[in-house]
Symmetry: C3
Subunit: 404 residues, 3 copies
């Protein structure tokens, strides 16, 4: 540190004298620096104050920074960087250039890059790698970016308590893990800084593997709904003038659900079969599958769960049949007409067998569906061995018999 820098720091501190008095003399391991007084920085600061850390804010204009939570100190960038070993960079990537003149102050410090991007592949390299290139002397650790300002401020009460970090230096990562643990998060070291791009893309994803299955489910539902609407309701209205439009709400839905459910289920098991045939045809399993098959195989779980969802709706729609007004009306009408026309009906054992078998197999099938759904829960999967998983989800994980 040169003499000039020292005096610069001093002058900044002096100008902040009313706050300085309040700063407790904590050891360096208990002090952290947060650079950036935006939403993320302030939330992080609130969270850090809770387990007793001393927080030093680094700001471009330390004097004008207002409305900060109590208990922290605001210094200029250079002075703030001197004050702690662990420095959180809560600044957006496009403002990183202000860090360049401070490269000397950051030498040997641990810089935690919290930045988020607005969309994937916004920049040629990961923000953390860019930061490392700007401040080569520092140990850059990517982390905490998967959390929102809200969950940083309030701690991991309902949502995800997992925090992913990555970086080159093991010591730097351990220091960050220690802070994360104290804040109540469970930090997972994902490896070297090259994983940073993946971590930066993680919070941007919105069910990437659910998109195609959902589109297929919605498309199929709409197609079959309109087909059945025309086939039954509109056809009956046009040819016989009968208004049976009330059937749209339950009867039609109850026909669409099982059809879509079964199609989704077959779409879930089909790619495994296709892949096996392709491997047999090629005579090797070491060539990559075509891209469409690869993507298809990766969303089989989602296809299966959507299929279960439609089956669940089908079960409920079936079970409410006897409490529907139209069904009760029809049943009463039927009985009344039997009496008035003095007809008798014979009990048909074949129909009874047929009807009961149909219902019974439906129930057992739904039971298996639910079992498959339960074994798809992450924590249940983790407690199964591979052999158990493939036993329950028969055939689902693809060419198991060939490769196992």
């Amino acid at each position: 540190m040169t003499g000039q820098e020292r005096s610069e720091e001093k002058s900044e501190c002096v100008s902040l004298s009313p706050m300085m008095e309040a700063v407790p003399a904590l050891p360096e391991s208990e002090r952290v620096c947060v650079i950036g007084t935006g939403d993320l920085g302030r939330s992080l600061c609130l969270r850090l104050l809770h387990p007793g850390y001393g927080v030093v804010f680094g700001s471009r204009r330390p004097h004008s920074s207002s409305r900060l939570p109590h208990g922290e100190q605001v210094l200029g960038h250079a002075a703030a960087a001197q004050s702690a070993h662990l420095i959180f960079i809560a600044v957006q990537r496009e403002h990183y250039d202000f860090l360049v003149p401070l490269a000397n102050q950051f030498k040997g410090k641990v810089l935690v890059d919290l930045s988020k991007n607005l969309r994937k592949n916004q920049y040629p390299e990961a923000n953390a790698e860019y930061l490392q290139s700007l401040v080569p002397g520092a140990e850059v650790v990517k982390g905490f970016n998967t959390l929102s300002a809200w969950s940083l401020q309030n701690g991991p009460s309902d949502a995800n308590r997992q925090v992913y970090i990555c970086g080159e230096s093991v010591e730097a990562k351990q220091a960050v893990i220690a802070v994360a643990t104290k804040l109540g998060f469970s930090a997972l070291d994902r490896g070297s800084i090259s994983v940073a791009r993946e971590l930066e893309d993680f919070p941007l994803q919105l069910f990437p593997q659910w998109r195609h299955p959902l589109r297929i489910a919605i498309g199929l539902s709409a197609a079959f709904f309109f087909y059945l609407l025309i086939r039954y309701v509109i056809y009956a209205y046009v040819t016989q003038g009968k208004d049976i439009s009330f059937r749209i709400m339950v009867s039609l839905a109850n026909q669409v659900c099982p059809i879509v459910s079964l199609i989704m289920l077959s779409l879930c098991y089909l790619p495994g079969v296709l892949a096996s045939f392709l491997q047999l045809y090629r005579g090797t399993k070491y060539r990559r599958f075509p891209n469409w098959l690869d993507r298809w195989m990766l969303c089989r779980k989602q296809l299966g769960l959507l299929s279960l969802g439609f089956a669940f709706l089908h079960v409920l729609y079936t079970l409410i049949i006897p409490i529907r007004y139209s069904v009760m009306f029809w049943v009463t009408e039927h009985t009344v007409s039997l009496i008035r026309e003095n007809r008798t009906t014979m009990f048909d054992t074949t129909t009874a067998w047929h009807d009961d078998s149909y219902l019974s197999l439906g129930i057992l099938g739904f039971g298996l569906y639910v079992l498959l759904g339960i074994t798809s829960l992450p924590s249940v999967i983790n407690s199964l061995s591979w052999r158990e998983f493939s036993f329950v989800q028969v055939g689902s994980p693809g060419p198991v018999t060939l490769n196992a």
Copy 2:
């Protein structure tokens, strides 16, 4: 070790000669010492013998200790402390003072504090911190206290296999983690000894966040049940002399369930809205919410799950309607009266539409409810990104739109 101590140890050992012969000459890393021959100590000993550890018991009266499981050695405190590097203190806090004269023997040893308290805030400082102050030369690690004697003895078969530990020394914690892993537990390092109080309070909690929501649910259910009881059953009895008390079991329950479910659901989403308004009114989100709002926001998940539970009961109560004796009787009566009085009824399309829409929306709503319930499972939450979680639980995590 002084000569006096050595001889002291020897004399004790000699007096135990019948047992000493049986002790295998294990290396120090395979030997552990357990001080305290109570329930917890004996259970721990049984568990430690399983993967092949040599267990040395430290007892105040080594000669009178009876009914110990096979394979372990009983020595006096001083001699036991000498025999192993890792020492489990399975003694209640009020008896810790016997450790003071042994402070020299414990120098450099790892002491695992297993003590539990009977209630929160029983003592001014955590038991582990108190132990550390008594034996400054030892490395105190808090751990295993979240397990019962029963689960220590039998291993983690059905219940929690997670063990939390904390302590200052990294090496000491690693030694304890190694033992925990060998016993089949999965140990999680929670940080420094200052977390000990939290770990000591953990086994004492009994659904702390469920208490208020449960009270609200029970209160609401009771209130609406009595209101409906008076409004329908008692009123009918008093004014018309009709006994419809049988409706209490199903009809009344089926009216109470959806009312309570919807109120609980609104209580789940209301605090988020209130918090947003408060932040807008205050013009900042860096002031803490009032205490009642904070507590309310922390139990939103529980309110939502109770709401789902009542909705589940409502679905079942609704689905059994047609198999109730009273309903079947009424339906038959209705048909018979139609014939006898020679009336005809007209099919009302509007009623059919109304009835079916009502049922169909109910089913879809319940489907969404179940989806919310599934995404509240800890393992599912952990596999979602923050954006995905807040997408599914719309609005539920509070002022997301303001802070994200």
Copy 3:
């Protein structure tokens, strides 16, 4: 490395010249060696190439190895062993002897044993321990054996992302954990090499704790099914000549389910009670339970979950009653006969009370059942304290009151 070895390596490399040119000059930490070009080796190789590792194959006949995925190099065993620090042994145990002459090349290297056995206790010692004895200078780490070739190749998309490793050397294990993390797995260090046998047995298990409960459930179901078949269907046919065989599908199933469910539930809670009595009778809880009781207590969770499954089927079978053809026929017949015979029926309040209470208690009981099922999910268990778990699963974890 002796001069002879060097020249040997050179000569092999020369003969591979067309491939050698393609090999990128990666640093040693980015290069791994895979010995064995079978299914497992190739799949592992494909997976390793993805995050950018340079893979060197070790093969007995490097020239004839064909159809390898792109981007890797094939060398003789000795040369391959020299080229990387981390060496995956993807060879079956019975071929391990070829490693003996290479012991010098393996000195100081990390050998990852991936081998699987065909059945439990196939060999006197664990494969990893056998490997260590063959190559004493290397650091053997057991790992990745719980994964199939398929999941190694495709990465942890739907199934288990947990990888267990064990070994003596902490550094060696950390190197393996680093690779596993880069491949997208979450590696868990299970301790020393003595755990290897357990890890090798893990992928062979197929629901070991489910076997007995499943057999009991199937046996009970079959027994009660045949009893009821004879008691109702065959008896009615023989004595009255009536064919009510259609009842097999739903009515009989609906009688079997609740009976088996309740028996399984009592089997789930009975061993805890027996164990308590045994402890009281013996006057101590430090003697092991008899073997049968021990095994019984370990499968209580499975008994309970099967009981829940049967209860779930019972609920569905009950709810479809009113939409069965035979029931609808009977209801109509009943109404018609009332009219034709001009009978009247009186509403019986006692029957209504009885019937509704029965249904209502059934629903509440099923609700409790589902709650027990949810608290048996691994991730929910892990978030409960011991006191909370035993509160929900009252009595289920056995003699809690005695030991807690």
